[in-house]
């Protein structure tokens, strides 16, 4: 019985990868902003409908460099559920994260929750497309503008999502995508910053290396954050297949939706039917109404080789302070398997296992 896990692991056809590596070896150009990286930057910009994309070795360094290119030294407002990697990226940049709770209805930073942590030392805001759902980026753009603060988004899971006529990648002063193998687009390891702003793009392109020949703008600090040709080639091959992967994701999500329908205390988080990448299927569990504890469900499913994950399990609760909404979400959310091998019929079976558990009460 195959393992059904969280994390996409979308892999393009081997024949394409085989040829891609042969071409790289023939060119003997392996790293240092080579032709594959340049092509990937153009392709991701096109895919996200923005002018500029700058790929980086991983999403942590993408966040380190984007933050450093936008924020003056000081405190940065972040949603309390921001992933620990992104929080640590800010710490490496010398910033102090200020953890804000989110609105109980939208699960997003709001004017009110931001105001509670805003001080005279605040120099920027980090928003997040929580669980790959765009939420209300326009609202956050308005708030940031009102306070005169630069704004960036953690868009790790939102590649391919859109709202209205704008796609993820085009909001704030810049956004960070993950190209880790668990994301929609797999570069093995990788991150990418997209922006509408030329000066941010120039700073990013300067900051991701130490080379004199790749210096386009004055920047406070630089890093070796270069993506290698191998990773860029893999991601480019993925972009050619990504539409099929989104279709497969959609079939899986719809199967979960059908299978979980009508269960008391269990709700599949809504997704935008027209503009989602359908990557993350997350359920909210009201343990009392469903008559089951999340931990118990997790161990029952593990026996069936099904491994869901609590998406906020790794956040550091000791730094959360007064963030009751995030604290509560941490205990209520469970992400269902979404790897490439989890097909429609698997989702139906998993839903059935969950339903049986609920019905037993």
């Amino acid at each position: 019985m195959k393992r059904l896990e969280v994390g996409q692991r979308n892999v393009p056809q081997w024949s394409v990868i085989d040829r891609g590596f042969r071409d790289i070896f023939a060119r003997r150009y392996f790293a240092n902003n080579g032709p594959m990286v340049q092509e990937l930057d153009r392709a991701v910009a096109r895919f996200s409908g923005v002018d500029y994309a700058v790929s980086v070795a991983n999403e942590m360094m993408a966040m380190m460099l984007l933050a450093k290119s936008l924020f003056a030294p000081g405190e940065i407002v972040v949603p309390a559920y921001l992933s620990p990697v992104m929080v640590e990226a800010l710490v490496w940049g010398g910033y102090t994260p200020a953890f804000a709770d989110v609105d109980p209805g939208t699960w997003r930073l709001s004017a009110e929750t931001i105001r509670k942590v805003l001080t005279s030392r605040t120099t920027g805001i980090v928003g997040a497309h929580f669980l790959g759902r765009l939420g209300e980026p326009f609202e956050l753009e308005r708030i940031a503008e009102l306070h005169g603060l630069p704004l960036l988004f953690d868009a790790s899971d939102a590649l391919g999502c859109s709202t209205g006529d704008r796609r993820a990648g085009s909001f704030g002063n810049g956004e960070v995508f993950s190209l880790h193998e668990s994301s929609l687009l797999n570069a093995a390891e990788g991150g990418c910053v997209t922006t509408r702003l030329l000066d941010v793009s120039n700073k990013m392109r300067t900051m991701r290396n130490f080379h004199l020949s790749e210096t386009f703008e004055k920047t406070p600090l630089r890093m070796n954050g270069k993506m290698a040709e191998s990773c860029a080639m893999l991601a480019l091959a993925g972009l050619a297949e990504v539409d099929q992967w989104i279709v497969r994701n959609r079939e899986r999500v719809l199967a979960y939706e059908a299978g979980l329908q009508g269960l008391a205390g269990i709700r599949l988080l809504p997704f935008d039917r027209a503009a989602s990448n359908y990557v993350r299927s997350v359920i909210e569990i009201d343990e009392a109404r469903a008559g089951l504890a999340i931990n118990e469900l997790v161990s029952v499913l593990a026996e069936e080789n099904v491994f869901p994950k609590r998406p906020l399990a790794s956040i550091d609760v000791s730094v959360l302070g007064d963030a009751p909404v995030v604290r509560s979400l941490r205990n209520r959310l469970l992400e269902l398997p979404n790897s490439a091998v989890v097909l429609r019929e698997d989702a139906t079976r998993i839903s059935g296992l969950i339903a049986r558990r609920c019905a037993r009460v």
Binding site: F25, V85, E181, E189, N224, S230
Partner: protein, 392 residues
């Protein structure tokens, strides 16, 4: 071949080489071996997060370096930042670094929450000068970051003694000296930890990547906790680990080819007055990889170092000046930081260049480059005159 100075590419003649001759190692194993090794990782959809390739590579590197622990990371820079952050234990202080080194060093120290303290280097090995380090250490020093250079590691004994006497941890950036020995012992187990690179231009090609070696069990655990825990993203991917495994297997052949190239440069420089190939310390008792060819340009060579580099580059021999300007006089020095003169570093930065090496440069290329240098030496006055005219 060139007969008149008009034949030089910089004055409009055809370049000596039909393709560029870079200074990076750029040695990679055969593509078929690589794809065969990697295919299983794709079939298992296991391209990162410390899969079988990374685990195999760590084990082989551990044996190669004769060290107890090896931790692979996304690149050497991240490895150095992790190491400095762990060693600082939350303190914000300063880290001692050489003034004559890699551009990235002062940046990495700042990403680790520390302030760089530049120190002068010694004239032979070009590594940190232990006396300068002793004079620079203060109560806020959290680490000494010594950079091992290609031509002789560093004065590891001298530096380790200062570190021990002052109770400051010492770590080594051994990227340029990978495969070399010090006192007959393979680099990898000196100081608290050492950092190496898997960048394609280095001895051990893995596209991009790095690793940290240490004998310190607690440090190894802290590095792994940091890399594998939820708060840092520093994993080496499987595609890069697979390439490094094969590169390591072929490293002796690479060293043999490097040595032949280096010997060819030795012959060239021996006959040309004013061009001195940088030698190796205790060559008879130590092991080196002969990766680079550094040349001290001085009297009676008729061109300046910078003129020589310019003329060679036009011929597609991508010579470069070596760490020029020195870090404390460069854009990589934190703005506003006052740094005293570093006489040795400043003199080295004015004098040295490095010549094409690695798999793109054959012995025949070195011979041809030697003939070009003979020509430049003969026509030096004329060339300098013409170059001055071009500037006017």
């Amino acid at each position: 071949m060139k007969n008149e100075i008009d034949d030089l590419a910089i004055f409009g003649g055809p370049p000596l080489f039909s393709s560029v001759k870079p200074v990076g190692q750029l040695s990679v194993p055969g593509i078929d071996d690589y794809l065969e090794l990697l295919k299983g990782s794709f079939e298992r959809r296991e391209l990162t997060d410390n899969g079988s390739m990374v685990r195999m590579l760590e084990e082989r590197l551990r044996i190669f370096h004769g060290v107890t622990y090896c931790v692979c990371v996304v690149n050497a820079c991240v490895g150095l930042v992790m190491l400095m952050r762990i060693i600082a234990r939350g303190r914000r202080g300063n880290v001692i670094i050489p003034a004559f080194s890699y551009n990235g060093i002062p940046h990495l120290v700042q990403w680790a929450g520390q302030e760089p303290r530049f120190c002068d280097v010694e004239a032979v090995r070009h590594g940190l000068d232990p006396r300068a380090v002793a004079a620079t250490i203060d109560d806020a020093t959290t680490a000494i970051l010594a950079v091992c250079t290609v031509n002789g590691t560093s004065d590891i004994d001298g530096l380790s003694t200062v570190a021990q006497e002052r109770g400051v941890p010492i770590i080594f950036d051994s990227v340029s000296a990978m495969g070399a020995t010090y006192g007959g012992r393979m680099l990898g187990s000196f100081g608290s930890g050492e950092v190496f690179s898997l960048h394609a231009t280095k001895m051990l090609a893995g596209f991009e990547g790095g690793y940290i070696t240490t004998n310190d069990e607690q440090l190894a655990r802290q590095l792994r906790d940091l890399r594998d825990g939820p708060s840092v993203n520093a994993t080496l991917n499987e595609m890069h680990a697979a390439l490094a495994i094969l590169s390591l297997r072929g490293i002796d052949d690479v060293i043999a080819r490097n040595t032949a190239r280096y010997r060819a440069y030795e012959e060239v420089c021996a006959r040309i007055p004013g061009l001195d190939l940088l030698g190796y310390v205790n060559e008879e008792s130590e092991r080196y990889t002969y990766q680079m060819a550094f040349v001290d340009v001085g009297d009676p060579w008729p061109l300046t170092r910078d003129e020589t580099v310019k003329v060679l580059r036009a011929e597609r021999a991508l010579a470069m000046s070596y760490y020029n300007p020195p870090l404390h006089r460069s854009a990589h020095c934190p703005p506003g930081m006052e740094v005293p003169a570093m006489p040795v570093a400043e003199a080295l930065a004015r004098r040295y260049m490095y010549l094409p090496v690695g798999e793109h440069t054959s012995i025949d290329d070195v011979t041809r480059l030697g003939k070009l240098l003979d020509f430049l030496g003969r026509k030096g006055a004329e060339i300098t005159h013409r170059l001055k005219g071009m500037r006017a």
